[in-house]
């Protein structure tokens, strides 16, 4: 009986919490501007790209159609009702008309049907049929859209992983240093300053160059993130240290100390919770830096290696002005990079407006 009541109470609590969470989410959603809503939706879409790449990409991102390099994006046509037994959507296959110019013509005599929810993919063509390039193909005849979808895995995750590393490091070091004060504080902060004075991009280039060959793409990827995080934690630690130092003097921390609270308790119960809101806001604002950093490295050939795709290394083909002039669609990954970076910035700004205590004051 007693246990049953407790059970019901617990369920009520859970439901209330759910309702509360939902209500809060609803409040936040209504409070957000259209830009912020769009940003959130876009980021969600990109993360779905990353999580479900094999289902969303129409083709294997490494598959090369060697007779179709630099093929322009194809137009999708709605099939007449009489053909609906074969498919609703079709495109005219492209034929390489002049290999030297990479000039294509639509082959109007044939159609390639684009099937939705087919063979475990969102959309694709039948195995033997000519391919459908939604965003064109790149210089090895690989489907650009599929590569962008797979590239989201690297480009969208690099920010999260990097931020996780640099912020846990920054918060720990900063809060500890601020709490300790005195010589320890000085020593740690001088170290941070030395770290900050390294010219970061060159440092990154040098570190990326010593990554041993023969590592798998995933390993290379995590090494690069680690390098980038290692470069950026120091500046953040300094800000946190300042906040921690001011919190340390606050009456409630004084009180906790007077009551005999251990250092660890002070750090985890009082100081870190006081700075975490600021940290979260800053985290979302520093993700774009990682996305751009990865593109810069990959652009220079030091990041993610072929045939794995990232938005940065997809864009490296666009280094050549000739290529941009003739095959403008290879700039498409750049569009995705700017969209993601802008979305993170809008969202981060919004979060700061809502949650940063220093802002609320």
């Amino acid at each position: 009986m007693n246990a049953g009541a407790a059970h019901i109470r617990a369920e009520n609590h859970a439901a209330a919490a759910r309702r509360g969470w939902r209500a809060a989410a609803g409040r936040e959603w209504r409070a957000a501007s259209l830009t912020v809503k769009l940003s959130a939706v876009m980021l969600l879409a990109f993360y779905i790209f990353a999580a479900a790449s094999p289902m969303i990409a129409p083709y294997d991102p490494a598959r090369q159609w060697r007779t179709m390099p630099d093929c322009p994006p194809m137009r999708l046509h709605l099939a007449p009702p009489s053909d609906w037994s074969r498919g609703f959507l079709y495109a005219f296959p492209m034929r390489l008309d002049n290999p030297m110019a990479r000039h294509y013509v639509e082959d109007r005599s044939r159609r390639t049907f684009v099937h939705l929810f087919y063979r475990g993919r969102l959309f694709t063509t039948a195995p033997g049929a000519p391919p459908f390039f939604l965003m064109g193909s790149e210089n090895l005849g690989r489907d650009l859209f599929s590569r962008i979808v797979y590239g989201a895995r690297v480009s969208m995750c690099i920010g999260l992983v990097g931020v996780a590393i640099s912020f846990s490091l920054g918060i720990m070091v900063g809060a500890f240093s601020g709490m300790m004060g005195g010589y320890t504080d000085s020593a740690i902060m001088r170290m941070c300053e030395i770290e900050m004075s390294l010219p970061s991009f060159y440092f990154l280039l040098a570190l990326a160059a010593v990554i041993p060959s023969g590592l798998s793409t995933t390993a290379t990827f995590f090494l690069i993130v680690a390098i980038m995080a290692f470069i950026s934690w120091a500046g953040f630690a300094r800000v946190i240290r300042g906040m921690a130092a001011s919190v340390r003097a606050a009456p409630y921390v004084e009180a906790a100390r007077a009551l005999g609270g251990s250092r660890r308790r002070l750090l985890f119960r009082h100081i870190i919770p006081a700075v975490i809101g600021f940290a979260a806001v800053n985290a979302s604002l520093s993700i774009p830096g990682y996305i751009l950093g990865e593109s810069a490295l990959s652009l220079l050939g030091l990041g993610i290696q072929e045939p794995a795709a990232s938005w940065g290394n997809l864009l490296s083909q666009a280094m050549d002005p000739q290529t941009i002039a003739y095959f403008p669609w290879i700039l498409m990954p750049g569009l995705f990079i700017s969209a993601a970076v802008m979305a993170f910035n809008f969202l981060g700004d919004h979060l700061r407006d809502r949650f940063d205590p220093s802002n609320a004051a």
Partner: protein
């Protein structure tokens, strides 16, 4: 290690700088026909990628220095690029005697240095003394050693040079193609031990004493090198008029190829070597720009996948790495040769402007190229069958193993910054993936790559290019088992395999016969051996093009250099 298109990091970084110019070009601002005063002043403008390292022709190691000094100095013999046979240069004739063991050069009497001193046999002897001097590092000396010994030369009179050889040595005419130095101007500095420091790039151009068709007038680092015609040049045209016909030459120094391309389009330069993707746009614009785009020929070099067969890398503590067994197994290598999609590489990487390479010697080397080799066709099924028969079977889906069950995985590298090579590696990797062979591809910067190849030996497979020359013995360091560029297993104390021993033997034999046509069979056989044993797998050779202003006349570029460059001139307007 001569490499045709290494390193272009600089090019990439310069990208931003030219972005504005590029934007103009893309927006299609259709400028009218470019104008310049090059024809009026009879001055030919072209561009080079980097600054020269030295103006001292003996110390030249880089191509920029070779270009910078090329027109100022001359050698005893020169090659006719159309026939690939030797022609008189500063020596008006030569004769083999004493069973091909004595070579006598008769020098021209009418050649003067730019300071007025006559050119004599003393200059030839001095230059050879400098080249053989162990204190003077230079790239000529290795070609001038016969069985490790220098060539003994003497000068019975001022206009005769006699070379005595320990045995008949066919490459001697090619070896004697070094630029002759002025003894009267440099002997003093040489005796004083200052040779390595004279004629550096800080030397005022009027202090450089040459006898070539052009003399340097101005060098502005990172900008240009200018030349004026040598009024006392010895060569005359068919009417007895002095040559060269051009009044001057300017090499602009432009590290970025995109910028070179724009400069040519805007009329700042008169000549441009287009990349494959630029050939078609230039052909389209030929009329508007008043230019000719002409096919020059097939690349003289060789671009190939090499596989490491070096036990110093693969045998550690008596344990042999399985990769060494694969790469020395001719069946494995034959399967890989069938997996190189040369046509795909030609279409994807060269826009169709390339030909499959079968032999390590370019077909442009008309005498020494073996035309009878049969290429390994691109056929993944055939490759899979060869692997199956040789015991390399699928051990799980998508993974093939060797007869002992090790999965087939190896590393592939090349130098960074060359998109064509990245693409070729991506194609090779993709095809091997289909066969169940995993390739980990990672390009290395050029310095790191060279270190891996010649000292640490820590590599599995590399896509690398060598430049080609007409004289087949120039590849001695690559072909001989003792050579430092014998890339798959360099500097062997004694040949590791019977076929490497046979190549060494053929290299010796090939230098004994002086007549090029009688020599050729030895080198054809070497190409056959490499083709059968496959320490390297050839890929493709680019077809090179050149674009130049229509106002240029007598302009006959070939892959081996210009035919009669002294006749080039701008049409009178």
């Amino acid at each position: 290690m001569a490499d045709t298109d290494s390193g272009s990091r600089g090019r990439r970084l310069a990208f931003v700088a030219i972005a504005a110019a590029v934007a103009t070009a893309i927006c299609g601002c259709r400028v009218s026909r470019p104008r310049n005063d090059h024809a009026a002043t009879q001055t030919l403008y072209d561009s080079m990628v980097s600054d020269p390292g030295t103006f001292n022709p003996v110390l030249v190691t880089d191509s920029a220095s070779a270009v910078a000094t090329g027109d100022m100095f001359e050698s005893l013999t020169r090659v006719n690029p159309r026939t690939t046979l030797f022609e008189p240069g500063l020596a008006q004739s030569w004769k083999f005697s004493d069973g091909d063991k004595t070579l006598t050069f008769h020098l021209r009497h009418d050649v003067k240095w730019s300071d007025g001193a006559p050119f004599t046999a003393r200059d030839v002897l001095f230059t050879m003394r400098v080249i053989y001097d162990p204190k003077i590092p230079n790239s000529m000396v290795s070609a001038m050693m016969i069985d490790g010994k220098p060539i003994a030369v003497s000068a019975p009179d001022d206009y005769t040079v006699v070379a005595r050889l320990p045995r008949p040595f066919a490459p001697i005419l090619s070896s004697m193609q070094f630029a002759i130095l002025p003894a009267h101007a440099l002997a003093g500095a040489y005796e004083a031990g200052r040779f390595n420091r004279i004629w550096g790039i800080d030397t005022p151009p009027d202090r450089l004493i040459g006898l070539g068709a052009f003399l340097m007038t101005r060098y502005v680092p990172a900008q240009l090198i200018a030349y004026r015609r040598n009024p006392d040049y010895w060569m005359r045209d068919e009417h007895g008029a002095p040559l060269p016909r051009l009044k001057g030459e300017v090499h602009l120094i432009v590290p970025d190829q995109n910028a070179q391309y724009l400069q040519f389009q805007s009329g700042m330069t008169d000549v441009y070597h287009p990349r494959p993707e630029e050939v078609w746009p230039l052909e389209q614009a030929a009329k508007r720009l008043d230019i000719t785009v002409r096919k020059v020929g097939i690349d003289t070099g060789s671009l190939f996948f090499a596989f490491n067969r070096n036990p110093r890398h693969y045998v550690r503590g008596g344990v042999v790495d399985p990769r060494l067994k694969w790469f020395t197994d001719v069946n494995f290598m034959r399967a890989l040769a069938h997996a190189v999609d040369k046509q795909g590489m030609i279409d994807l990487c060269y826009r169709g402007l390339a030909v499959p390479a079968v032999s390590d010697v370019s077909p442009e080397n008309k005498i020494y190229h073996n035309p009878n080799l049969k290429d390994y066709d691109y056929d993944l099924e055939e490759a899979a069958q060869i692997l199956d028969r040789a015991g390399y079977r699928m051990i799980r889906p998508g993974v093939r193993g060797d007869p002992e069950g090790h999965p087939l995985v190896f590393r592939l590298t090349t130098n960074t910054g060359v998109p064509v090579r990245d693409q070729m590696c991506a194609i090779f990797k993709q095809d091997l993936q289909q066969l169940g062979i995993t390739v980990n591809y990672r390009p290395l910067d050029f310095i790191t790559l060279v270190k891996a190849l010649d000292s640490s030996f820590d590599w599995d497979c590399v896509l690398i290019g060598f430049t080609g020359t007409i004289e087949p013995n120039d590849a001695s360091d690559f072909l001989r088992s003792s050579g430092n560029l014998h890339i798959w297993d360099p500097a062997q104390p004694k040949p590791a395999t019977p076929w490497e021993a046979q190549i060494d033997h053929l290299m010796d034999e090939g230098t004994m016969v002086v007549d090029p046509y009688k020599r050729a069979p030895y080198y054809w056989q070497i190409q056959q051996i490499l083709h059968d044993q496959l320490p390297i797998i050839e890929t493709v050779r680019a077809v090179t093009y050149i674009a130049y202003r229509n106002t240029l006349e007598n302009y006959y570029p070939t892959v081996w250099g210009f035919y009669h460059p002294e006749w080039i001139e701008f049409r009178a307007q």
